[in-house]
Symmetry: C2
Subunit: 471 residues, 2 copies
Amino acid sequence: MHMAIRQERQPASAQAIDTVRQALGAMLGNRLVSSLAVRQQHANTLTWIDNQAPDLVVYPQTTEEVSAIVKLCAAHDVPVVPFGTGTSFEGHVNAPFGGVSVDTSMMKGIIAVHAEDLDCVIEPGVTRKMLNEHLRDVGLFFPIDPGADASLGGMTATRASGTNAVRYGTMKDNVLALKVVLPNGEVMTTSRRAKKSSAGYDLTRLFVGSEGTLGLITEITLKLQGIPEAISAGVCPFPSVKAACDATILTIQSGLPVARIELLDALQVRACNLYSKLTLPETPMLFVEFHGTDEGVKEQSERFGEIAKELGGGPFDWATRAEDRTRLWQARHDVYWASMGLRPGAKGVSTDVCVPISRLSECIEETQADIATSGLIAPIVGHVGDGNFHVLPLVDMENDEEVKAAKTFVERLVQRALAMEGTCTGEHGVGQGKMKYLEQEHGAEALAMMRALKLAIDPQNLMNPGKIVTL
Amino acid sequence: MHMAIRQERQPASAQAIDTVRQALGAMLGNRLVSSLAVRQQHANTLTWIDNQAPDLVVYPQTTEEVSAIVKLCAAHDVPVVPFGTGTSFEGHVNAPFGGVSVDTSMMKGIIAVHAEDLDCVIEPGVTRKMLNEHLRDVGLFFPIDPGADASLGGMTATRASGTNAVRYGTMKDNVLALKVVLPNGEVMTTSRRAKKSSAGYDLTRLFVGSEGTLGLITEITLKLQGIPEAISAGVCPFPSVKAACDATILTIQSGLPVARIELLDALQVRACNLYSKLTLPETPMLFVEFHGTDEGVKEQSERFGEIAKELGGGPFDWATRAEDRTRLWQARHDVYWASMGLRPGAKGVSTDVCVPISRLSECIEETQADIATSGLIAPIVGHVGDGNFHVLPLVDMENDEEVKAAKTFVERLVQRALAMEGTCTGEHGVGQGKMKYLEQEHGAEALAMMRALKLAIDPQNLMNPGKIVTL
């Protein structure tokens, strides 16, 4: 369909980097950094993917500066790698062809909060916690919570979701509009602030989840929610993963508007008990939260308790006091650190898949059997309302055989999910680590379409090359 | 960025049409029709846009047939115009360059209903009422309701929404995956059945709202909802449009999960009283519905009543009996016919815009003043929870001056919405009628991006040419 402009990207030449370095230095002064430590930190990776440092790191403060940086890089064919907080898992911020890492941490402006419209306009470096602190006084909050205090630019770019997605959706459902610097340095807005529109192709959703490969996000209009009048949350043990998943299905089918419903497998519960000083029974456990009115959350919590009982689970121990809820969710958010405590010195290699919820218990139980057979230590935690779960193999990275065992385990995990009509990643994104699965997941035609889109928008393969698709 | 492959599309040659006619006849037998009446019916338009009939109409039964049709048309450069039920407003199904109208009404298969996953897989000719009848026995429903009993293929292609969108979102939020026949006849699937995924570019959302210009949808995976245990609905009068809009804002800010919240202006209420034999006070009126448990909808209805009272509205007269609700929503759905009754013989030229809800009352009130000044009869009804409203000028199409007045009124309406950070269409789509506003709404860069996408996917400009963007 297209001219193959470039089959494989080459790293920028030393001369090009030097030219760009001088021009950026003149433009940005000490907001251009090229020390090895900072460059390596900007190529942060949380798996066995090698750290591939950019040549330069810049800290722009405005859309105009980003535009000038991208134009300069385009003129000298130097790759541009967007950087938020570096909390992505799959090598999203690595620079396999070198180039310039554009760190958005100095773009933390909250440009506007429109309380009546339940939206806000922010810069990409704003983190979710920072935004929610800002919003608290006006009684609003932004619901998407991937665990890490990620930047909203990064969350948008990776189509993040997390614990609240079962009720509030993912980033794709909560971004109204974007301002983007395109690969040629032009500035584009994708949509307007109206809550819905049928005016043409959905450019917003094209950029949500594009992982910086189509452009660099410099402004985000987000939907907001009113802080619920009442919140109830609690834990509920189950005799099996299947019983917990069945309770989840029944809860959602019943129309209970559950705000979070998180599964921890028995090993994960043990890890949490040790780390967070809890005394939960070490059996599959649901962490559940409801948002609504006082009456509403009480009714919903009681209903959920009945459903759990029906499935052999319970008792559902729930509370509405903020401090009790905070302790609970702090423990949930600390599962990564809790898991690491199971094997000090090991690296936690987090991965995620997502399947239709009807296949979820089967997928998790097969995965647990695989973990046992492989001799790995790998707790499981899942956003079960979405059919999404994480496995965290704790790997001794010095032990080649163990690394190999973990890699083949992840391979089998993805194959298992794909065989169940699932996806190779529910929320972590493709980055470098999941690229090899895209053709199998989507088919050759869809992969060709993704390539055609990348080529139409970024024919030079300038923006975050080596991620999602190769040209 | 691209070669301009074709600046303007030409109609297919008579010879090409003839060749395609013969081949299609051999393939489809009497499922190829070329009578004038059927061709004109397939170029149905509900505004002043001229009827532009296709050369041929075909009724495929399978994806394979659609693929063969598109391949044949591509080989002879004959345009392909997808057709659902022809209920679109802006000339979406017109054939300005002739070609083949592909009517999906013989593709009405409900391929699968996955009750545990709350999804289903259907063919594009299934209409929303047909789907909901099919689902009733399993306790599920599909919430998007644009009023007309449109095909789900058409609803997907136009990013439809309607009365339930305030709670359940639009088609963009309720399509999980699509099977699409691309402009080269290849068959592509956009995603999988998992409830969420971060695996690459969002091809699903690229096709939702693309109005048949990028490909023809032959299979749709839709999210479903459990039928609520209880529904309450009622009407609530307000002293002014502003009071009604303020009540809507407060309702949403309070986190009341309103399922529908519809504004009728005083003229629209009068029309409904006449047509549907109601006795509502002829003042701005909200039609409101809540979904939930018995306790929940009672609590929500009472809360809404308090909010309405606070804003000088009320009393909120609500009911949970199915027959009362049905009468109410039947009246709401009949507003088009009710409005037509205000001026028998006139044509109702429906248009829609959408603005941030904080600007909604201002936008509606200015529009009402404009209607009065213009001497038009034009009731207003709005999905006010989304900031979206419809105006229906009743136009004597034989009266050139009146047609001109209505056209300039619509022009001013769109300019008013755009000046308030709104969109030229909240849910009707672009078609032919709203193309001229896209550059102003989105900016030159975004329009260039839409063109680049169209060109990358459909370089021949084969699929529904002359809609959304020109090449």
